[in-house]
């Protein structure tokens, strides 16, 4: 119906002035074409962006998913009274002992230097030693008996089981010999190897041994650091913005301050790191590598962003609300805290979320204040040495053990998950604020 209507309209136009109708029709066609082209550019841009994102995520997941499960071996351990010191069980070389017992079970004879036992020992994680020592400490009567112990295989053995190292890999590029592969195959064939979820990745701190390394220390470090950052940057930033926007007399000085804040937001983060070293560590003597110093530096970095976002959120509150409150006899402070700031809250939260997410992923300043050092424990307070997730990624990526590479990707995934959880919480909070009004 509209078709015929439009056709009729064109027919009438053409009857009145054919040249004008043709010109109109050409112009219309061009206009629609331009609109279509513009839409196409938009779709292309969005698809490219999504494509890259998927590529990045896909690559990380592909590289990292293997870190989330690990292979364990179950072995019979004869607690040899000749080798175990009752008073100091953890001094025993359990790995060597187990390796020799395993070789004996296979009926292999070792040379005088124990070359084969050493090679077998490299397939067993030092976790086995800790577990065996724990068992004996809890129950010394186990000495002289045979106990079944389950422990992770070593990182190289794990890589073999995961198919990252195969017999086809050139010999000089792998650290697992054909002989070791045969032993591993044997273990698996006899059902002594089980594949389980790698819980240690989430319960352990960093370690020099990949199969024992976990992200918990870095997660706690990052969380403590962000806590410090949030506690300092949010009140300070919001307060400064409220003062500048609502209370200060606009003039040359506020202009100068505004320009400086905008410039500070663009200062490279490594410069903030240098400032942190000079100010917090060298001058104030705060503990190096601690979440306290990290949080302080990140707070300095986050401040300009929070101030700018808060100011623009305050500017967006309609002046009629301020007038209404002032005309009711509310003081300036009451006006701001009863009406203006609550209305600006969603905008303030958005700015805060962005700056916190930024702070979480920031690495450069952490390099300077010593948060890239190897910290095996899990920090318990903000003044204890700690790592952070981005610096853990940096450390693991640079590690020589190949098994750390899959863990690097896993750490990146954990970092992303941390960020998503944090942002989701903040968005939920913001929603709540929005609904109240």
């Amino acid at each position: 119906m509209t078709e015929t209507g439009a056709d009729k309209m064109w027919a009438r136009l053409a009857a009145e002035d054919p040249a004008r109708a043709a010109r109109l029709q050409r112009g219309l066609k061009k206009r629609y074409a331009r609109e279509g082209r513009f839409k196409l550019y938009g779709i292309l841009a969005v698809s490219v962006a999504i494509g890259f994102l998927l590529l990045l995520l896909g690559r990380i997941i592909e590289q990292g998913h293997t870190a989330f499960y690990a292979n364990q071996m179950t072995v019979q351990v004869y607690m040899d009274p000749a080798r175990i010191d009752r008073a100091y069980p953890q001094g025993t070389n359990f790995q060597q002992m187990v390796a020799q017992q395993q070789l004996a079970r296979l009926g292999e004879t070792d040379d005088a230097q124990g070359t084969k036992a050493t090679a077998y020992r490299l397939l067993i994680s030092s976790e086995l030693k800790f577990r065996a020592a724990d068992l004996i400490r809890n129950d010394p009567s186990l000495i002289g008996r045979t106990v079944e112990i389950t422990a992770p295989v070593s990182d190289e053995a794990d890589l073999y089981y995961k198919g990252e190292i195969t017999r086809e890999t050139a010999a000089e590029q792998r650290r697992v010999s054909d002989e070791q592969m045969a032993w591993l195959d044997g273990l698996k064939r006899d059902g002594h190897v089980s594949t389980t979820f790698n819980a240690q990745l989430f319960t352990n701190g960093d370690s020099t041994e990949p199969e024992l390394a976990g992200v918990l220390g870095a997660v706690v470090g990052s969380a403590l650091m962000l806590l410090v950052t949030a506690l300092i940057a949010i009140p300070l930033g919001v307060g400064a913005a409220v003062y500048l926007e609502e209370f200060s007399r606009k003039g040359r000085i506020t202009d100068l301050i505004e320009v400086n804040i905008n410039n500070l937001a663009a200062v490279p983060s490594i410069v903030y790191g240098l400032l942190g070293v000079a100010l917090f560590i060298n001058w104030m003597h705060l503990p190096r590598s601690s979440p306290l110093v990290g949080g302080l530096v990140l707070a300095l970095m986050a401040l300009p962003t929070i101030i700018i976002a808060t100011r623009s959120a305050l500017k967006a509150v309609p002046p009629s609300i301020r007038e209404a409150a002032l005309a009711m006899g509310a003081s300036r402070t009451q006006t701001v805290f009863h009406h203006v700031l609550p209305l600006a809250m969603p905008g303030v939260m958005t700015g805060t979320i962005i700056s916190m997410a930024h702070a979480l992923g920031e690495t450069a300043p952490l390099l300077l204040i010593g948060m890239v050092s190897f910290v095996p424990g899990i920090p318990g307070a903000i003044d204890e040495p700690a790592g952070a997730l981005p610096s853990l990624v940096y450390i693991w990526e640079n590690a020589s053990e190949r098994a750390f590479h899959e863990r690097t990707a896993a750490a990146i995934l954990v970092l992303l998950a941390f960020m998503i959880v944090m942002n989701a919480a903040a968005i939920l909070l913001r929603r709540r604020f929005e609904r109240r009004w």
Binding site: P318, S320, I321, E323, A325, M328, G329, S331, W437
Partner: protein, 305 residues
């Protein structure tokens, strides 16, 4: 309950003539005899012909307002009587809103704004150092052009003023103030069952009445209205006008309006502003039927403006 704000030294309320220097220019109010016939049928009909009911509430003397270097108002002197509706009319940018805002010192909130001259409320200079603008605004309520309820519940909107000024001591007392304010504003019947739903969910006219209820909840003496109906439809406008007429019995009301008909309908006194100057003022009936100034006649008959 009144705020312990300023009173005339002798304790009289609304004794505008307490200032002995005040000069009353009665001649201004005397209507000029000519031109009455010329305008018949062309000017809006005056519906509230009664003369001012109260004594002078606010007396402005040589008030000038500057925004930076620009002067917006030139030497305005005007008496505003109590228990009366005074309308300010004039073309856009003529200074009527600026003058209105000097009466509760809302111009203080604009950076670079300067007010000279004297504004006396009950004989007391409201620009004096000893007068707290916050307390002044509790006595001089204001209603704006666009309804601007707080984005809170209806109850919270009305309760806000009494709360910040500490006027009530109990929840029951506050409830009472909210109810009586909403009743005075003619909104109670419409919102009694949804006091705790958002005030921004009301219609424009209801919002404006809510804002009026909010203003009268602190029991002010003066209510300033800056084009309160310009964003409303004719029915809502009629309700607000009725309300203004009812409120006149208790308050001194000053209303800025662009609608000549509205000025004629609701006000007893009218002041005409042009180019930042007060051109003419007097009883509404006289201004509309028998203006002394040519410019006033031109404006109210729609020849410019």
């Amino acid at each position: 309950m009144k705020l312990p704000f300023f009173r005339s030294p002798d304790g009289r309320e609304g004794g505008g003539s307490a200032d002995p220097t005040e000069r009353r220019d009665e001649s201004v109010l005397t209507p000029a005899p000519e031109a009455a016939g010329v305008m018949a049928g062309r000017v809006p009909e005056v519906k509230s012909p009664s003369a001012p009911a109260g004594p002078t509430k606010i007396a402005a003397r040589d008030v000038s307002v500057f925004y930076g270097d620009k002067q917006a108002l030139y030497d305005v002197s005007l008496d505003i009587p109590d228990k009366t509706v005074t309308a300010f009319i004039g073309p856009s940018g003529c200074g009527k809103s600026t003058f209105l805002r000097t009466m509760n010192r809302m111009n203080d909130t604009i950076q670079g704004c300067r007010v000279t001259g004297k504004i006396l409320m009950d004989g007391q200079d409201i620009n004096a150092r000893s007068v707290d603008p916050v307390l002044l605004r509790a006595q001089v309520g204001m209603v704006f052009q666009k309804p601007n309820p707080f984005p809170k519940t209806i109850y919270e909107n009305v309760a806000y003023g009494p709360r910040i000024h500490g006027l009530t001591t109990s929840k029951a007392e506050l409830d009472g103030i909210v109810e009586s304010s909403l009743k005075k504003a003619g909104l109670w019947d419409e919102v009694a069952d949804r006091l705790h739903s958002p005030g921004t969910g009301l219609s424009g006219g209801q919002q404006q009445r809510l804002v009026i209820a909010r203003a009268i909840a602190v029991n002010p003496e003066v209510i300033l209205m800056d084009e309160p109906c310009s964003a409303l439809d004719p029915i809502a406008t009629a309700r607000i006008e009725e309300l203004i007429d009812e409120l006149r019995e208790r308050y001194c009301i000053v209303i800025v309006t662009h609608s000549m008909a509205q000025a004629a309908r609701v006000s007893q006194r009218t002041a005409f502003f042009h180019m930042g100057r007060l051109v003419e003022h007097g009883n509404t009936e006289e201004i509309f039927t028998n203006p002394r100034e040519r410019r006033t006649l031109d404006y109210i008959t729609g020849r410019f403006g």
